[in-house]
């Protein structure tokens, strides 16, 4: 029995955690991806290797890191390397299986915008910028994006391509392979790389997703439903969050 129903963000985070296979090398960004990767490590992927762009390799945080520079994260890592080494040898070197990224906007090909809303020179909203995302997107085996579904975020065309969503040369693999939202799961079409709705979270109607998506979203048939969140998943996630709050 789950004491309290999972929130949309919890469903999204747990869905992301389920994407990881045990032993995979995962590049973890700030925010919800951080929770997802650490949750996976406590669930069915204990052998996952967590890599943070701040320089921590094989991080084994005891509590959920609040930022990628968390002291606990550094202390318990297998190794710490400089930021240039991280980007050149570890990320650029092609050693990451899965990159978790967030986004402010995403388009049908998984292109990501974290730079500006509006015109670059005169933006309506100035976003933080690229960070490590462009090279993570270009170098990781596959990219999983975590993003709450809304018309503001799922747009026909991103205002700025900060990170590229699909292989430029049409090669297999790489780039945005899945988007986990609070409503369901989108995956890359093997045919042309366009994102398709492949599953809904329990209780979500397909219309909700289509209305929250700013382009005519393809629905892959048969459309699946994700496994309901288990009590174990939810309690582990909530325990993680408590540990994070307890440390601030």
């Amino acid at each position: 029995m789950i004491p309290v129903d999972p929130t949309g963000e919890e469903v999204m985070t747990i869905g992301a955690a389920r994407e990881l296979a045990d032993g995979e090398v995962v590049l973890v960004g700030v925010g919800p991806p951080n929770a997802a990767a650490n949750l996976a490590r406590r669930l069915d992927a204990p052998g996952c290797v967590l890599v943070y762009e701040s320089g921590a390799i094989g991080a084994r945080p005891q509590r959920l890191p609040l930022s990628i520079g968390d002291d606990d994260l550094a202390a318990a890592a297998q190794d710490l390397v400089s930021v240039p080494e991280m980007f050149n040898y570890w990320i650029g070197g092609g050693r990451i299986d899965v990159g978790f990224l967030g986004a402010s906007q995403i388009d049908r090909f998984g292109n990501i915008n974290t730079t500006v809303i509006g015109d670059y020179q005169h933006p309506k909203v100035r976003l933080p910028g690229a960070g490590g995302a462009p090279e993570i997107a270009a170098s990781a085996g596959r990219i999983i994006v975590l993003l709450r579904h809304s018309l503001r975020s799922f747009v026909g065309e991103v205002d700025f391509i900060t990170s590229v969503g699909r292989e430029l040369n049409g090669a297999d693999g790489g780039h945005t392979s899945a988007v986990i939202t609070d409503l369901g799961v989108l995956r890359r079409s093997p045919a042309d790389g366009e994102l398709e709705l492949v599953a809904l979270h329990p209780g979500v109607e397909v219309e909700q997703v289509l209305e929250a998506t700013g382009w005519p979203l393809r629905v892959r048939e048969p459309l699946g439903v994700t496994e309901p969140v288990t009590e174990r998943e939810l309690s582990e996630l909530r325990a993680l969050r408590v540990s994070a709050n307890g440390s601030s």
Partner: protein, 277 residues
């Protein structure tokens, strides 16, 4: 070249090395951020600065909000774990208190620009940037072909700041410096810059090599300054912890122009820093 960096007061180091219009790196990637040195620079009235850092956070927000910054070179401008940098956004979105010019990179691009600077090379090569809109808004990103495979790769222009300022855990009496934990791009920033200032948590007789440390010998430094807690609200591993509460508080302080200005006057500009550290 032996710069023979000496231990000296922070006010003297900043006063002699940072000028109006200087190109200043204040580095620290989520750790060891040189807040105290940045504040000293503000107290001394320095302005029209070009500042560079991969992750401008609260410190750059403060400098920008006071109108001291003409140009920011950066790759990720957010308040980590909290959200927006409101002063940075206000300057970019509304030009308050002045317009600022952005020179924008990815982390990989800016880190490699420091690497090139430290290596006395005019540029560095990397994958990345291809297909993004970043190159079209930058004079510091170009594309080149591999002379062996003809593959197209990106190039970033080297960065060589006038002054690099960092915070570290330890110096010895001769001004040799050791820092450890997440050391970011600090070695590259110091070696890429013409001058370097390091603030340290403590001065010891002799440095004992530590795990996961980098060493900056005094002959690549211009000044070493004893400034305990000089990274607050950031932290120095084994000396302090990150003041996450302050980073959250900053969100409210910095949302409002007047509250921000008053806070800076009360807490930075009109404050006498602890002396004789």
């Amino acid at each position: 070249m032996n710069k023979a960096g000496q231990i000296q007061p922070l006010s003297e180091a900043v006063g002699s090395l940072v000028k109006d219009g200087s190109f200043v790196a204040l580095e620290g990637f989520t750790h060891l951020i040189p807040f105290a040195a940045g504040h000293e620079l503000l107290r001394q009235g320095r302005t029209d600065l070009t500042v560079v850092r991969l992750t401008p956070d609260v410190l750059f927000d403060q400098m920008i909000g006071l109108g001291r910054v003409a140009r920011v070179v950066f790759s990720y401008g957010g308040n980590p774990g909290v959200g927006s940098l409101h002063r940075f956004r206000d300057a970019v979105e509304h030009g308050w208190p002045r317009e600022i010019e952005l020179r924008e990179h990815s982390h990989a691009g800016l880190a490699n620009a420091y690497v090139a600077g430290a290596s006395h090379l005019p540029f560095a090569v990397l994958r990345g940037y291809a297909g993004t809109n970043l190159p079209e808004h930058s004079e510091d990103i170009a594309f080149i072909n591999c002379p062996f495979t003809d593959e197209r790769l990106s190039a970033v222009r080297a960065i060589n700041p006038d002054v690099a300022i960092i915070h570290a855990q330890q110096a010895d009496a001769q001004g040799n410096v050791q820092l450890w934990g997440l050391t970011g791009v600090q070695k590259e920033a110091v070696l890429a810059a013409r001058h370097a200032i390091v603030t340290v948590e403590e001065v010891v007789d002799e440095l004992t090599p530590r795990p996961r440390a980098i060493v900056l010998p005094n002959w690549v430094l211009d000044a070493v300054c004893h400034v305990p807690n000089g990274a607050w609200p950031s932290y120095a591993a084994d000396f302090s912890v990150r003041d996450n509460g302050f980073y959250e508080e900053w969100d409210a302080i910095s949302r409002d122009r007047d509250r921000f200005t008053q806070w800076m006057e009360d807490n930075v500009l009109n404050v006498t820093p602890a002396v004789a550290r």
